[in-house]
């Protein structure tokens, strides 16, 4: 429900023109036709599957799940209200923000899908390529356009990549899914190095802006950190370069074993040097053909959509005082903004006890109001399943905090031990071996005490309910992997991973813990860190210094007793 006191604000973000609108509209009708053919029995489930997946529709344990693309995590308040409306009308009154910065609805009826897609198209949204073996939703740094750390806003390039990859005829039946992320600073908030392909906006020695391209990162059962493909690709060549990487992948990837078909497997089989050679050759050919250059005026045209909002000048840059709770929240959830008097506010969807990433339609509506009132109508979805108000005045932070408290979204825990990533797990997913959500809830409850959380400091726990690693457990400072042992759920600990600029793959500790033991095991691991840490060390730093042994000893000690 739109609060009548709140005026809807249209943020500076990409807007569909008549071509985009027609494209999405026709795609909706095309998919409606495919649904009709499935319902009539003309298409078998086997034939329908890749078609529905290409449009974000999964068949889960209990129902169809529809995944809505949130390109580079940017949403307007109007879109947020539409998502709330869809949750209320077609689902069980909630939605789930994912690690791909999308939003998924878990209880959808197949017959309703065309109507939902039409509603989404009304607010310039779609489900194109949110699953299937194609280029997925492009993600970006959630602080894009708001942080002073970036060389430039990465979203215009992400939008250009979104358009180029939409129904790309050569790359919609790839060997496996293909995920691209874009970043623009040394600080990596988008897990670039865990992507099939990542673009980092960089400046070369002459001060020219261009792109560093990496490929072959990934989670899943065989985690890899991406390799650099090119240190510097000129602006106008970027699409040609990305097309070259995809073409080599499409041609040369294995197709005989679904677990060995991601680009990371190809690159690590032939070696990064050989991959770079093959890509360079394709790149030369594509450049020579000359149809894929990105002209500067096109880049400028797209960039104009993302122009920074008009920031007020003369604002005080002091953080307002509003009590201890507020101060605690500011400490973890408020980040430096590029404009004086402004801040970036992270809303963690992780109040201990909550399902990570879930929001009810009522909560979405109120967040939409907050967006309009305080953040130029805009919000970002993060890969850590949180939301970000990118442009808020510092003086408004106490009011925002008070409203979030009412919503139960005011947990002062961004980056702390209770800010947990968890996949939907066995509660929803038909691939899962174990539940993730209850484990996340138990751990969050165990560490609920705020003083203790702050004392522990930055510690990223990431939980996956199976080896596919949707909960990013390889990249967790503490990762947890659910496994099934003869029908019983067990949880393995994985330590020392990172999805940031210091990316590393976590190391498996050993045999798993039972569902009632895992939270205690995590606590014993954390206690080792508290006892052993040296000045200023994060958990990850202490782990890197000490290695697995002391943590392993502690974790199994009491479990065996």
């Amino acid at each position: 429900m739109l609060n009548t006191l709140v005026k809807q604000v249209d943020p500076n973000m990409y807007r569909y023109d008549e071509f985009d609108a027609q494209f999405v509209g026709e795609r909706v009708e095309q998919f409606a036709g495919q649904v009709a053919r499935r319902l009539s029995g003309e298409l078998t489930e086997d034939q329908f599957k890749p078609l529905r997946l290409m449009n974000g529709l999964y068949l889960q344990l209990h129902a169809y799940m529809l995944r809505v693309a949130v390109p580079y995590g940017t949403l307007s308040s109007k879109q947020m209200r539409k998502l709330a409306h869809i949750a209320r009308t077609y689902d069980k009154d909630f939605g789930h923000f994912t690690t791909r910065t999308n939003l998924q609805f878990n209880w959808i009826k197949l017959v309703d899908v065309p109507a939902i897609l039409r509603e989404l198209a009304d607010v310039e949204m779609h489900c194109i390529q949110t699953s299937g073996n194609c280029v997925r939703n492009v993600t970006a740094d959630q602080f894009a356009g708001a942080t002073d750390e970036e060389i430039e806003d990465p979203r215009p390039l992400a939008e250009i990549i979104r358009q180029w990859s939409s129904l790309h005829p050569e790359f919609v039946f790839l060997a496996r899914k293909f995920k691209i992320a874009v970043g623009a600073c040394e600080k990596d908030r988008a897990a670039l190095l865990y992507h099939d392909m990542a673009v980092q906006i960089v400046k070369n020695a002459q001060g020219r802006i261009g792109y560093k391209v990496m490929a072959g990162g990934g989670m899943g059962r065989t985690p890899y950190i991406a390799h650099v493909m090119s240190e510097f690709v000129e602006r106008e060549d970027i699409l040609a370069y990305l097309e070259a990487v995809l073409r080599v992948y499409n041609q040369d990837s294995r197709r005989d074993n679904i677990h060995k078909q991601r680009i990371k497997i190809l690159i690590n089989a032939i070696g990064p040097e050989e991959m770079r050679k093959r890509v360079a050759r394709e790149f030369d050919e594509i450049k020579r053909a000359g149809t894929l250059q990105l002209p500067q005026d096109e880049l400028d045209r797209i960039t104009a959509y993302f122009a920074p909002p008009k920031f007020e000048t003369g604002l005080s840059d002091e953080m307002p005082e509003a009590g201890t709770d507020f101060a605690n929240w500011v400490k973890t959830n408020v980040s430096k903004h590029r404009a004086p008097g402004y801040a970036i506010a992270t809303i963690t969807l992780k109040t201990p006890g909550q399902v990570p990433g879930d929001a009810t339609s009522a909560q979405m509506d109120i967040i939409a109001d907050l967006m309009d009132q305080f953040s130029v109508g805009e919000v970002r979805v993060t890969h850590e399943q949180n939301l970000v108000l990118p442009h808020v005045r510092k003086k408004d932070l106490p009011a925002i905090y008070a409203k979030l408290k009412e919503l139960d979204f005011a947990a002062p825990n961004a980056g702390l031990i209770t800010d947990i990533i968890a996949c939907p797990g066995l509660d929803y997913c038909d691939l899962a071996n174990a539940r993730s959500i209850p484990i996340a809830q138990t751990i969050a409850k165990k560490f609920e005490n705020l003083d203790r959380q702050h004392q522990i400091g930055e510690l990223k726990i990431k939980i996956s309910g199976c080896i596919n690693a949707c909960g990013h457990h390889h990249a967790g400072h503490i990762g947890i992997l659910g496994v099934d042992k003869k029908g019983v759920e067990f949880y393995q600990l994985v330590l020392g991973g990172s999805g940031a600029e210091d990316a590393s793959i976590g190391e498996i500790m050993g045999p798993g813990f039972g569902e009632h033991e895992i939270a205690d095991a995590v606590e014993r691991v954390v206690n080792v860190y508290i006892a052993q840490r040296k000045d200023g060390e994060r958990f990850l730093d202490t782990y890197r210094r000490l290695g697995m042994a002391p943590f392993k000893d502690a974790a199994y000690e009491k479990a065996a007793a």
Binding site: F19, L51, E170, A289
Partner: protein, 163 residues
Amino acid sequence: MTKLIKSGAYAQDVYAPVADDAALPDGPVLVSLARFHKDRDTLLARNTPVGIRLQSSENPEQLGQDVHHFALIALEFPKFRDGRAFSWARILRTRLGFTGEIRAVGDFLYDQVNYQHRVGFDAWEVPDNFTIEMFNRALTEMTNVYQPSADGKKTIRELRAAR
């Protein structure tokens, strides 16, 4: 049974598929890559069109300049999920400048025909119940495209610039 669609209409398939160990009949033939390697000189000396059928793992670039001897290159989809032939067709048209017939054969879906058309296929071996009307519809469900391919179609970016 299957039918051939070419230039938007049903067409007669004049090529005789020849097994690797069978004798070459008179008239246009369709052979495998292995057969072509074995009988290259004989095949090229014949005064009749030769077609080659490539499996999805066979990159047409390995044909080198021989590619221009073929009147037909049939690209196989062993399973509709195997999308390698989309790249092979694109390379044939854009890089190798192949102007003969590129035919889609094997297991593909109605929903892939438009993508095939875009990357350079111009002939389709389809099941009997696949009508010309379906074919035309497949090509017109999506009016515009975001990226260049082998069909030379104006991209949305170009259409925007021309407004």
